[in-house]
């Protein structure tokens, strides 16, 4: 208060501005802290940051076309893709030369698979033509245009060359366009045909279901955490074991157990039929759809909600509620005005944890989700291990990462991340 009346900056004892000497003393402390965490930092860098950066890079990297058929790419520059005419002989000659080199290096099938993401049939076209082109001589057999078209009539299709030209750039936005249900064409970005539009819907579903799962976790975990934090030690320890028990069971076992529970011949349906609540021919469909995924994932992620909530609630001393009641507050007012606001950091921490875990969850939706209950991560896994379109997988993963970061940022703006307490 007296500071305000003083004019000019505050000075430290030795005459340097107070701000500066404070910054200097803080810097020394920061450096020491940095030295202490450097082994961990290195580990995180190697095992976490580098893979993520490489994934980010893979989502735009597209060197394969220009590296495998460099001469063709150069020649295609002069070709008017909009014109509807086939490229001229120079392109075919360059392409044959490139292919011969590529076949030598066994690279042409890889290029085929890459282009196959954009236009189906390209993979087999490259593979089959490869065998024939191998027999051609780059000098003697010219001209090549007709010969190539004879080898595979795909080479006589304007679309083939358009595809090659469109995807010849070394850095592409094609994967990202694909990830949001669009595609790269010579005319610029265009929407995918309707039958191929699934990814945006999948993203939306993933977010929606993660929210529902987080919400149901909050509802279920709050009373449990409250009990854990307020019951006598002996009982709450027992409850805690029950909460932690699922952690000691394999994730697969837990998920499969839900399969047993929820399927049409499963425990729940059998019981309902036996009780006569549900007709035998109208058994509930509660698995292999979104409902199944929500139930199973809520159960599996519940401990991640309970633990932070519990540890926050445990730090709320009972004297607060006593004080409130002594001042005349009813039980409800005490809870709502005094207890609940102080437990919010726990809800926040648990929600972030559960939501982020849910949004990237893979095994459970895969097993109990059927086709309608799968998440975007299942799609990523499919592209990584089945279609081998790693670029698209990386683009999807990057978008997922960005979504999480944006949500995190929004959470920080609205609730404040320093309000999140894990204990």
């Amino acid at each position: 208060m007296t500071d305000a009346t003083q004019s000019g900056p505050m000075l430290a004892a030795d005459g340097t501005p107070l701000k500066k000497s404070l910054a200097r003393s803080l810097r020394r402390r920061k450096l020491r802290a940095l030295a202490l965490i450097s082994p961990l930092l290195l580990f995180v860098l190697l095992s976490f940051v580098i893979p993520i950066v490489s994934m980010l890079f893979r989502s735009v990297e597209n060197g394969i076309v220009s590296q495998t058929i460099p001469l063709t790419v150069v020649e295609l520059q002069n070709w008017d893709a909009e014109g509807g005419e086939l490229p001229n002989e120079a392109v075919y000659a360059a392409f044959t030369k490139d292919m011969l080199a590529a076949i030598e290096a066994k690279q042409h099938t890889r290029l085929g698979s890459r282009l196959n993401y954009e236009k189906t049939g390209m993979s087999s076209m490259f593979r089959r033509s490869g065998r024939q082109i191998k027999k051609l001589d780059p000098e003697a057999d010219a001209p090549f245009k007709d010969k190539l078209i004879e080898i595979h009539d795909g080479w006589g299709d304007v679309d083939t060359w358009r595809t090659i030209k469109t995807h010849a750039v070394p850095i592409t936005n094609g994967y990202f366009l694909n990830a949001v249900d669009m595609r790269r064409t010579p005319e610029g970005a265009q929407a995918q045909p309707d039958d191929k539009k699934i990814l945006i819907k999948l993203f939306g579903r993933t977010l929606m279901m993660s929210l529902i799962i987080t919400g149901s976790c909050v509802l279920l975990a709050y009373p449990i955490s409250y009990l854990l934090a307020n019951l006598p030690m002996r009982i709450s320890n027992l409850l805690m074991i029950l909460v932690l028990l699922p952690f000691w069971t394999s994730l697969l076992v837990r998920t499969s157990a839900w399969k047993v529970m929820l399927q049409q011949q499963g425990v729940i349906n059998e019981t309902l039929v036996w009780l006569g609540l549900v007709a035998d021919d109208a058994r509930l469909v509660i698995i292999n759809n979104q409902f199944g995924t929500i139930i199973a994932m809520t159960h599996i992620l519940l401990p991640f909600m309970i633990l932070p909530m519990y540890s926050v609630m445990q730090t709320i001393p009972p004297t607060y509620t006593r004080a409130a009641k002594s001042m005349g507050a009813t039980n409800w007012t005490t809870f709502w005005r005094i207890y609940f606001p102080q437990s919010i950091p726990g809800i926040g921490a648990g929600s972030i944890l559960v939501f982020i875990l849910a949004i990237g969850y893979y095994i459970t939706p895969e097993i109990v989700g059927g086709t309608k209950g799968v998440f975007i991560s299942n799609r990523i896994a499919y592209h990584i291990s089945s279609s081998l379109n790693w670029g698209l997988a990386a683009a999807l993963g990057t978008i997922l990462l960005v979504v999480v970061l944006v949500l995190y940022w929004a959470y920080d703006k609205i609730v404040g991340i320093d309000n999140v307490k894990l204990g």
Partner: protein, 378 residues
């Protein structure tokens, strides 16, 4: 004040309980674990408007008593009555008890002003009246400028003042305070002591006050209950407590006190002769001794010891003493003497123009009036 009518712990006070009692503990016992009695047989009756202090060593059950009175702990045995009704039949939020907790219990997620407004809000007091009351309460504890701060941004003493303001802001009939001034500096503490007593009397609030500080207890209270070992050792107005302690615990605990041990030689009505362990004899007043031959601890206040023979009865017993130390304290002189084997016998005299200054090594004869020397339990 008719002191003779005030109840003493000798007789359970609930016998004298009358309908006027506002707060009443009847044979209350409390155990937390079913093994140890934290409160043993507590009897206490307070009229409306009284300021009663619970004083006692740490762990003697003071907070426990407050919590039972506030209804947050239930008595294991016995009954606690508030205004003639058993406390456990009134839900806590209907009791109208203001409370200052030992650790303040300010709501961390609310500002100071919101903390103070909370009890008013739950009573549905209008916004204007609320703000007015909050402001007055803050000014009362000299914290007017801090209304918009969070409790975590206050010092311990400031938090304590806010806790106090919050307990008083809704003008409760009964206020319980658990060491509300423990963290304050001397000057502020004295100011707050004055403020609390003034408010309590002005508003006619019945107050139960817990403290470790006996000066605080003596200066603020109408009556003081000295706690030890889960029992009230003595319940009396401050002057009686100091001048007529009923057992050696109270004598030791309140103020400075000299203790000598011996055996009662003879009793004659209001005075007796005690033979000390070294064979010398002194005059005393029998308090907790009934017959000759009993062991006793006698207690005498430092300022009641005389070494000027003229002021004693001609036939009074005297003791030989050697001065060990002289301590100059400004308004009083303090001497440490060796008397009958006790090297820590203290005498105090007022720094008057004619005061005698004894010097170390000097031999003196000391004595006292029989009524100032109390023969208590051994």
């Amino acid at each position: 004040m008719n002191r003779a009518a005030k109840d003493r712990t000798g007789e359970p006070s609930w016998y004298m309980s009358n309908d006027a009692a506002f707060v009443e503990f009847q044979r209350v016992q409390k155990s937390y674990d079913g093994e140890i009695l934290v409160v043993k047989d507590l009897n206490l009756s307070m009229p409306k408007g009284e300021f009663l202090t619970m004083l006692g060593p740490s762990g003697s059950g003071k907070t426990t008593c407050l919590m039972m009175l506030a209804g947050f702990e239930t008595a294991t045995h016995g009954e606690i009555m508030l205004d003639g009704r058993p406390i456990n039949n009134i839900p806590p939020h209907k009791r109208g008890i203001g409370m200052v907790f030992q650790n303040y219990a300010l709501f961390p997620h609310m500002t100071v002003a919101e903390n103070l407004a909370f009890p008013l809000e739950v009573r549905n007091i209008g916004k204007d009246a609320r703000e007015e009351k909050v402001k007055r309460a803050l000014d009362m504890v000299q914290m007017g400028a801090f209304g918009s701060r969070r409790p975590a941004q206050l010092s311990g003493g400031q938090q304590q003042r806010i806790a106090l303001a919050r307990a008083l802001v809704f003008e409760p009939e009964l206020v319980l305070m658990d060491e509300p001034l423990g963290a304050l500096d001397k000057q502020l503490r004295e100011h707050m002591q004055f403020e609390i007593t003034r408010l309590a009397h002005e508003l006619g609030i019945t107050t139960v006050y817990v403290t470790h500080d006996q000066t605080e207890a003596l200066t603020m209270s109408d009556r003081v209950a000295v706690f030890d070992d889960g029992r009230i050792q003595q319940l009396a107005p401050p002057d009686l407590l100091y001048e007529e302690p009923e057992n050696s615990f109270v004598a030791q605990f309140i103020g400075e006190n000299n203790t000598l041990e011996g055996v009662v030689k003879s009793i004659d009505g209001d005075s007796c002769v005690v033979a000390l362990d070294d064979g010398s004899e002194i005059d005393a007043m029998p308090v907790n001794v009934k017959a000759a031959g009993e062991r006793t601890k006698v207690s005498i206040r430092p300022e009641r010891v005389e070494f000027n023979k003229d002021r004693l009865h001609a036939d009074a017993h005297t003791l030989k003493a050697t001065v060990k130390e002289f301590i100059y304290m400004g308004d009083v002189f303090r001497f440490r003497l060796s008397v009958a084997g006790n090297d820590d016998f203290i005498i105090k005299t007022r720094n008057a123009p004619d005061a005698v200054r004894l010097s170390p090594g000097q031999e003196v004869e000391i004595g006292w009036l029989a009524k100032d020397c109390r023969a208590l339990d051994a």
